[in-house]
Amino acid sequence: MKDFSPIFKTLWKNKTGPMLLILQIAVAFTILTNVSFMASSKLHDLTAPSGLDEDVLFSFRANLPVESSDYVALLDQDLRDIKELNSVERITVTNSVPLAGWGVFYLLTENEDPESYIASAGAYSGSREYMDTLGFEIIMGRWFEESEIAYASDSFDDLSNSILVTKELAKRISPNDWSAAVGSTVYIHARAYQIVGIIDRLIATWPEWHGNERSVVFPAYIFTGENRFIVRAKPGQLEQAMDDVKSLLMQQPGRFVTDLNTFKHTRETGYKSMESSFIILTSVTIALIMLTMLGVFGQARFTLMKRRRQIGTRRALGASKFQIMRFYILENLIVVGIGVILGCLCAVIANVKLIELFRQDAVPYEYFLYGGLSVFVASLIAVIPTAYNAANTSPAIATRSV
Amino acid sequence: MLKMRGVAKSFITDTVKTQALHPFDLEIQQGEFVAVVGPSGSGKTTFLNIAGLLEEHTEGQYFLDEKETTGLSDKFKSSLRNQKIGFIFQSFNLIPELNLFDNVEMPLRYRDFSAKERSERVLNALEQVGLAGRKSHYPQQLSGGQQQRVAIARALAGSPSFLLADEPTGNLDSKMAEGIMSLLKDINKQGTSILMVTHDMDQAQQASRIVEIRDGYLNEQKVAKTA
């Protein structure tokens, strides 16, 4: 392209403006790649399915206002009474509610030695109707036998040693073929457990935890002075079921029922801060693109102001409008291109530093590609009006005195 | 008052030396009205820039009120321009966003005058050019001739030793030009020296002396004094 050499010459002659623009684009691009990556990983987490039939579920916490010797009897009574409500389909008692943010996690090991670490996993306990209440799917193996599900006060140590794991956890246990995890043995707190089934998806209780696709389920009616329950309402009767459950339980003196929330609410609350971060990161991404456009626009205006006469002369000497526009756009692309290349370098360096300092995930390379492309497109949009304006410079301006 | 000895100006570009002005001597006394004439490209502007301390000469000596100006610092030259020289430009060069008062006051701002003295001087100068009543107007509200009068007031406000006028009537029609010329002559009669570049031989004839610049050479022309 014969335009290149004059463009470089002009750029070199008035370095400051283009250099500022390059610097600005480089910095903006560095942030852009990192921030947009962060935004899209948040989006990924936000939209991840929980594995639950979210529309019909709600959960609450209630106490057992009796002596501890009567806990089991009252728990059984409560479960029976609630299930008999017309608006309720099923109920389970559990130790923690998915995405509610409170629960326990365990470290799974290959054998008794704590060094043989496999993965950490969020732990749930489920009573008989746990699977049918939550509505997740077992894709391999089976649900617990009736005989395996026991009453447990606080730890799962005195229970049957059958457990279920999620598919993501199975992949850690048996990296080559996750389905082979069924029947294998893992250790938790140096006690052996046998995996009897694999759940497709069951999200752990901490919304922002990276490993929240890894859960393990123990067969148990968990009971303490206070319990968490998850209830599946009959379709369309969610509100009704919540009212019914509350008024039923409150008939007992000394009872409290709290944290009575639909699962949708739990999910929204759990993801609130992540959603906020996503909004912020997205707005930063947009602001950066706009800033870049502004910079390109300003720079193009400035050069146009300085070059009006020169452009007029070119037009007078026979340059077509198209040629003037091409010159402008090429010049812009060169500046933006240098900015993006420099930005890529900075972004890679920043990324390495960020991984060291803030333990961030590395930005995948397609972000550089798409980031670069969007900066190019944005800059084109910003430069075209000015280029058009330049191309429409009247040739007569050349003959006019300054 | 203004004395130039062997002053010359040359540029060196791409190893070629260009002599813009060949060495010349020139002396202007207090109260003189000197016209500088010559075709364009002859070195008039360079001469004016040197006389106005806007450009450094490359040879010779230039005395302003007995003071050697060669090699003075930028700061010192700025204050000489401010106190000794009043500039009048072909295109008036008033600042559009300032009103007449502020435009005339501008050079005084670069001097240690009290607000009161500045104000007195501005009003006097505007009075002198007959625009005292319009001090709050903006330049674009005036005709070209009036604008040039404001520019003259701005040049006069600091009571300079001489006025440096670069084609002061170049952008005006002949009627307005006449008015400006008579104003300049009045000012000259009151004792301010004037050095004026012009194309117009008629105007040049109204000066007390004419200096011609041609191809970088400066020559004194004898003028038939009008009585």
Binding site: T16, G17, L20, E226, K272, L291, F302, F358 | G52, N93
Partner: protein, 444 residues
């Protein structure tokens, strides 16, 4: 003279409104982004007890499982619990080696005023602690005062409540002497504290540091007497085979669940106290406890905040990004200033011709940069307030204190805008002063 230049700057600002607004807008957006993140970081990292942060310390005893550590620190070293077992907490209280002791836990129960109907009861978290909680952590009383030493020892059913709860239950009246029912227990009000939100709330874990303070306070011993136990909401860690399904079992187990702070009159006694902790550990080792190698810790407020990472990594990263964003904005402003000052070449030539020195020109354009920076700063401040208000909405789990600018931050916002705009104006100003002088000035 300054006045004159600011007038000129304002005229020049108005002359090219689009350019000026772009400059101001760009600066204000950059400044707002920077100051929002800085505000959050600054408020999160603030010293909440400036006058005695070195004299108030948290006791960490290494009573944990000899077979494996409770967790690992960021640097990979084994960590020790930052809470105590009941028996250790009681032993430290009995030894009485510090000037003030503040053990605390929390429990969850229903609360109502005695006169109110049963159905009006609300479930609340109750802070169960010692009488010194308020004086050590700086909570001010509006009515009454903290409970007596006897109340601590005998576990009397007395309660201190927050202003907000007092407004709700007693319409803001002086409620000292009134009764409140916790669960099924009658508690007598002894004091009401004013709205109080230390930022950060340094005495708990990082993830709790920006949440609101609890609204009710009772003596720890009264919780035990009345058997309040909230296994599903309190933070606690257990190891070993001890049963832990009732409060009594937890109290006799190796579970850690009590946070323990102490205050000293002088920093010297802190040394002595640490020695006492070591002696206590030695003694316990003789009976087969405290078998892990990692040393105990006596962490001052500042040390604990540092260790817990009161300002999260994500926050620091946000500040870095926002500053980079500001930098990019300023590059933009610099190039706009180049345009602006370039367009004023004629005026510069004129002013130079009539006697302005380069310094005069530099001052004139300096004032213009300052004006742009000032306007950018003021608008940036307003944007930052909007942004912070939005953040307060978006992160309800953080107390609004964290997203509030104090006067220092507000002044810094404007100062930062002016400073940076002047700094990035230096080169355009320098270039402007270099304008060629000529009598053939272009028309302005």
């Amino acid at each position: 003279m300054g006045n004159y230049y600011f007038k000129l700057a304002w005229l020049s600002f108005k002359k090219t409104p689009l350019l000026s607004l772009l400059m101001v807008g760009t600066i204000s957006v950059g400044i707002a982004a920077a100051m929002i993140t800085i505000t959050v970081g600054y408020m999160m990292g603030k010293n909440p007890l400036p006058d005695k942060s070195e004299r108030v310390a948290m006791v960490h005893l290494n009573s944990w499982d000899p077979s494996q550590p409770i967790s690992y620190r960021k640097n990979g070293e084994p960590d020790i619990p930052n809470m105590l077992t009941y028996q250790d907490a009681m032993a430290l209280l009995a030894a009485d080696k510090a000037d003030k002791h503040v053990p605390f836990v929390s429990f969850n129960t229903s609360v109502r005023a005695e006169a109110d109907d049963v159905t009006s009861a609300q479930t609340h978290n109750i802070r169960s602690t010692s009488r010194h909680f308020f004086s050590v952590f700086g909570a001010p009383f509006i009515y009454g005062s903290t409970w007596s030493a006897e109340a601590d020892q005998q576990g009397q059913s007395v309660i201190v409540l927050s202003k907000r709860e007092n407004d709700r239950l007693f319409d803001g009246a002086n409620s000292v002497g009134e009764n409140i029912i916790l669960g099924t227990q009658l508690y007598r009000v002894v004091g009401v504290i004013d709205d109080w939100q230390p930022t950060p709330k340094f005495y708990v874990n990082a993830f709790d540091m920006y949440t609101p303070t609890l609204p009710y306070f009772v003596p720890l011993e009264s919780q035990i007497r009345n058997n309040f136990f909230s296994p599903t909401t309190m933070g606690w860690y257990c190891w070993g085979d001890d049963a832990s399904s009732t409060l009594q079992e937890v109290m006799s187990s190796e579970c850690v669940w009590i946070r323990f702070w102490v205050e000293f009159e002088s920093e010297q006694s802190k040394q002595a106290y640490f020695q006492f902790m070591e002696d206590y550990t030695e003694e316990q080792r003789k009976v087969g406890r405290f078998l892990r190698p990692e040393p105990n810790r006596l962490m001052t407020v500042t040390e604990f905040l540092e260790e817990e990472g009161a300002v999260s990594e994500e926050n620091k990263l946000g500040i870095v990004y926002a500053l980079a964003f500001l930098f990019a904005c300023l590059c933009n402003v610099m190039s706009l200033m180049m345009t602006k000052f370039h367009g004023k070449g004629g005026e510069v030539g004129l002013r130079r011709a009539v006697g302005a020195t380069k310094q005069h020109i530099a001052v004139q354009f300096g004032c213009e940069s300052i004006l742009v920076g000032f306007l950018g700063g003021v608008i940036g401040l307003a944007l930052a307030q909007l942004g912070l208000a939005a953040l307060t909405d978006m992160y309800p789990e953080y107390h609004a204190n964290v997203m509030t600018m104090n006067l220092t931050l507000m002044v810094s916002t404007v100062a930062l805008a002016i400073g940076t705009s002047l700094l990035f104006g230096l080169w355009p100003i320098y270039r402007a002063t270099r304008t060629q002088l000529s009598s053939q000035l272009k028309s302005l």
